[in-house]
Symmetry: C2
Subunit: 504 residues, 2 copies
C-alpha cells in the first residue's frame, strides 16, 4: 500500500460516510417540515440505522491502517495542503468515533427524534413534566458519550470539543466571564439611556405569504441560490446542507411581527451561504466540509446582525419592504425601523433577543448545561434554575416553561455543548468583519447601495472555500488576523453601534 | 444453528434491508415534491449508495445459509403460516438479487433520478430528443438486468416478474388480446350511442386550495389517516409508504378541471389505504409488505373507479363538493356530474382516460415496452410508434410528444414491466368487488349513505392484513374466489355500467 493509494481509499471511504450522513440530513429536514406526526417512531428507526451504518464505516479498522500508511509520508509534508488537512481531520474523526460503541450511537440517533417530538408537544402545552423523562434520558446518554470520548477536566469538555475543536469548559467560562463583565454594564447603561427605539412600531399585520416573498428577495440579494436551495417553515428555524446543489433553510412567521421571521431567515441564510460556498470538488472530505460550529455561527450571526440589523441594510431594503408589504410599513421611517430592530432590552426568548443581551441568554444555557452534565443539577430542577438565572442576569421571569426552559430544541436533539458556539460565533464574526473591512473599506457603504456580494466574496475567499483547513474559530481567526479569539472587537462594535443608537 | 434462530436472524436482516429501502423512499418522495433542481445529481449519488447498501445486504451469502437452515424444517410446514410466507418470499428475493451485480444495481439507482429530471424537462419542452439518450441508457440497463435475472422466453419476462410474480409476456399478451376483443367493440358502440355525458359541464374554475381541501375531505372519508400521512403535489401523482405511521400521497391540480386532481387523489388513496392496512407488527418482513403491483393497482383502480366514479359516491359527495367549491358547481345535477366523470371517449392521456379506453392506453405501452426490450424498436423510433399505435387503437394523434410518448414518468424511472399491472389491477379489482358484494351486499347502497368503511374493512380483512401471503394478483384471486384471474367480470361490469349510462 503506497501513501497515494491509501489516501485515495481514505477519501473514497470518507465520501461514502458523508453520503450516508447526507441521507440522514434529508430525513431530519423532513421530520421538521413535512413528516406526519405518526411517522416519528419509524423515523427514529431509520435515523438509528443510518447512524449505525455511518458509525460502522467510520470505525472500520481498515481506516487506522490507511491513516498509518499516509501519516508521516511526503504527501502530508505541507500542513496546509488539502491532503494534510484531510488526513488530520480524518484521524481526529476516527479517534473520536472509535471511542463510541455502536449501540450508544444508535441509541442516541433513535432516541432524539422521539425526544424532539415530545419536546414539541411539551412546549406547545408548556408542560415540562412531559419532557422531563426525555431530558433525563438524553443527559444520561450524553454523559455516557462523554465518558467514552474521554476528557481532560470535565465531561462537558468532551461534548464542547465536538462542536468546537479544543474548546474546554474552563476556557469557555473565561470567555463568558469577560463578556459578562462588559455586557452587564452596557445593558444597564442602555436601560438608563435618554433615547430609545420603539419595537412596537413594527407590530403591524403582514400576511405570511408576503413575508415569505420578501424574505426570499432578501435571501437572494444576499447571495443565496434558490436553484440549489429552498425555504420552508418549521417550529425551530434551521439550515441544513444536504449536499452539492441542495441547501435548505427554514424559518417561522409571526403575522404580527415580520422581523421575527425575517431575522430567522437572514440568520439561516448566513449558514446557507457558507454551505453553498464550500468547494464541491472536495465534497465528502474534510476539505469540502464546514469548519466547527463556532465558524458556522460566525457566518449566521454576521449576516443576521452586522448586515441585517445595520442602518445601511435598511437604506437599501426599506423601499423593497414597503412595496412588498402593501402599505403595512406606511409611516415607518428609516430611523424608526433601524431603531426598532435594534432595541436592547432584557427579554425571555433567545432567538428574538437583541445583540447585546443575546450572549447572556447563551451564558445561562451554558451554565445549566454544565450543571446538568456534572450532575449538580437534575433535569427536574431545570425550570427553577432557568427562571432563577433569567432573574439574575436579565431581570425577567418567564410566565411559563414554554417561554422558559422549553423554548429551545437543542437539548431534545442531544446538542449539549452547542450553545456556546453562538457566542464564539459572535466573537469570531466581529474579528472577521474587522479583517474584511481592512480589505474592502467600510462595508456599510456597500450595503447602502445594495452590494452584498463583495462581503460574501471575501468570506468565500477567506473562509468558505477552505473547508476544514482551519477547523476551529480560534484557528481561523489566528490565520486571518494573527490574533487569538478575542471578545474585545465584539464589545467595541457593540459599544459603537449602541452608543450612537442610544446616545450614550 | 436451529431453524428458530436462523429464522429470527433472517427477519432481523429483512427488517434492516427494509429500513434502508424506506430511507430511499423518503429521498424519492422529496425528489418529486420539494428538492431544489440543483440537488438532483447529489440525490442520484445518495440513492445509488442506498441501493448498493440494500443490495449488499440482500445478497449476503449468510442469507443462503439461514434459508437453508429453515427451509424444509417444521417451522415452514404449513404453507400459509407467516413463517412459510416469509421464508418463501425471502428466498425469492435472495435468488433474484444475487443474480444482479452490485455495480448494475447502483448504476440504475444513480441514473434514474437524473433521467427522471431530464424527462421532466423534456416533457415541459415537449422535446423528445433531449430525453432520447436517457431512454436508450435505461433500456440498455434494463436489458442487462433481464439478462442477469434470466428468463424462460423473453427478456421482458424477467422485468414483468419483478412487478407481478409469474407474469410472462405471452400470458400478458393473451390477457390484452382478450380485453381488446371486448373493449374495442364496446368503445365503438359507445361512440355511436344515442345518449352522452358532457365532460365540459365540469370545466369551471375552482381555486387549487379549495380542490385540495375537498380532496382531503374525500380521502379522510374513504378512510385515509392523515395523522399518519399527507398529501402534496408533484408532476406525476404517486403514493409512497415510508413505514408504519407514514404514508404519502401526491396529486396535481388543474384549476379548470377539479376531477383531474380529485381522481388522482382517490387513485392514490387506494394505494394509501392498502399501505395503511398492512400489519405493522410484521413491518420489514414479507408478511408486512404489500403484494405485487397487480394487487396494489387493484386497490387504487378500485377506489378510483368502482367507488369514486359511481353514482352512489356522488350522491354522498355532491353536497360536500357544492359547499367546498363556493358556487362553482351551481346548476350541475347529480346525473350530469355522474355522466361527466364517466364520459367514454378515445383520448391522449392515460391518467385522465375513462375506465373503458384505459386498458387500451396500457396495451399501447405494453406493446412498445416489449418492442424496446426485444430490440425491434429503437428509442429514436418511440414517438412515431407511439403515435401510430394511438391512431390504430384509439383513433387519436398527439399534437406533440408531451401529450404523447413523454406523458408518463415510468420509463425515466426504469419501471419497465410496470404498466401491465394497471390492467391486471383492473381485472383483479372487478373480481374482488364481486367477492366483497357476496359478503356485504351491493356496495352502492353503502356508498350512497357515505359508508365506505365496510368495503375498506373487507379489503383489510381479506387483502391488506395478509401482506405477501398471496404475492400475485392471480394467487390472491384464486384464494378468495377459487377462480383464476379472469377478464370477464371486469368486462361484464363495464358493459353493465356503460350500457346504462349510454342507453346501449
Amino acid at each position: 500500500m503506497t501513501p497515494d493509494s491509501a489516501y485515495a481509499e481514505l477519501l473514497s471511504r470518507s465520501r461514502e460516510a458523508t453520503l450516508i450522513a447526507s441521507c440522514a440530513n434529508v430525513l431530519e429536514w423532513d421530520q421538521e417540515t413535512y413528516m406526519p406526526a405518526g411517522g416519528v417512531e419509524h423515523r427514529g428507526e431509520q435515523l438509528g440505522l443510518l447512524a449505525g451504518l455511518a458509525h460502522e464505516r467510520a470505525t472500520d479498522p481498515r481506516i487506522a491502517e490507511l491513516l498509518a500508511a499516509v501519516e508521516g509520508s511526503a504527501l502530508v509534508r505541507d500542513p496546509d495542503a488539502p491532503e494534510s488537512v484531510n488526513v488530520r481531520e480524518l484521524r481526529r474523526g476516527y479517534d473520536r468515533e472509535t471511542r463510541l460503541p455502536r449501540a450508544l450511537v444508535e441509541e442516541i440517533a433513535r432516541t432524539t427524534p422521539v425526544a424532539h417530538q415530545e419536546w414539541t408537544a411539551s412546549r406547545r402545552a408548556s408542560d415540562f413534566a412531559r419532557f422531563r423523562p426525555w431530558l433525563e434520558k438524553i443527559v444520561a446518554l450524553k454523559r455516557q458519550e462523554a465518558e467514552c470520548v474521554g476528557y481532560a477536566a470535565s465531561p462537558y469538555d468532551a461534548l464542547l470539543d465536538d462542536y468546537e475543536q479544543g474548546a474546554t469548559e474552563a476556557e469557555t467560562a473565561r470567555l463568558f466571564d469577560a463578556l459578562r463583565a462588559e455586557l452587564v454594564p452596557l445593558v444597564r447603561a442602555i436601560a438608563g439611556a435618554p433615547r430609545r427605539g420603539n419595537a412596537s412600531a413594527l407590530r403591524r399585520e403582514i400576511p405570511v405569504e408576503r413575508q415569505r416573498a420578501f424574505g426570499e428577495v432578501v435571501a437572494a440579494a444576499l447571495g443565496f441560490d434558490f436553484a440549489c436551495g429552498r425555504l420552508d417553515t418549521s417550529a425551530h428555524p434551521f439550515c441544513t446542507g444536504i449536499g452539492p446543489g441542495d441547501c435548505r433553510l427554514t424559518t417561522r412567521f409571526d403575522p404580527h411581527d415580520f422581523t421575527d421571521g425575517l431575522y430567522s431567515i437572514v440568520h439561516e441564510v448566513g449558514h446557507g451561504l457558507y454551505d453553498q460556498g464550500l468547494p464541491p470538488a472536495h465534497y465528502g472530505t474534510p476539505m469540502g466540509q464546514a469548519a466547527d460550529m463556532g465558524v458556522h455561527e460566525s457566518q449566521s450571526r454576521l449576516w443576521e446582525n452586522r448586515v441585517g440589523r445595520s442602518r445601511a441594510f435598511w437604506e437599501h431594503f426599506l423601499p423593497v419592504a414597503r412595496a412588498s408589504f402593501g402599505g403595512a410599513l406606511d409611516g415607518v421611517s428609516l430611523d424608526a425601523l433601524h431603531e426598532a430592530v435594534n432595541v436592547v432590552a432584557p427579554s425571555l426568548i433567545r432567538v428574538s433577543a437583541d445583540e447585546v443581551t443575546y450572549n447572556l441568554h447563551v451564558l445561562i444555557r451554558f451554565e445549566l448545561e454544565r450543571a446538568l452534565l456534572s450532575g449538580s443539577l437534575s433535569a427536574a430542577d431545570v425550570p427553577g434554575a432557568w427562571n432563577e438565572a433569567y432573574a439574575r442576569y436579565l431581570g425577567v421571569t418567564p410566565a411559563d416553561d414554554a417561554e422558559g426552559c422549553l423554548q429551545d430544541s437543542h437539548w431534545s436533539g442531544g446538542l449539549f455543548g452547542y450553545f456556546p458556539t453562538y457566542t464564539v460565533g459572535n466573537v469570531c464574526a466581529a474579528q472577521l468583519v474587522a479583517a474584511a473591512e481592512r480589505d474592502l473599506g467600510p462595508v456599510d457603504e456597500l450595503f447602502r447601495r445594495g452590494e452584498f456580494v463583495p462581503l460574501l466574496g471575501w468570506m468565500r475567499e477567506h473562509v468558505h472555500r477552505h473547508g476544514r483547513r482551519d477547523a476551529s474559530a480560534s484557528a481561523l481567526v489566528r490565520r486571518l488576523t494573527g490574533e487569538p479569539l478575542d471578545h474585545r472587537p465584539l464589545v467595541d462594535s457593540l459599544r459603537r453601534k449602541y452608543g450612537e443608537l442610544y446616545a450614550l
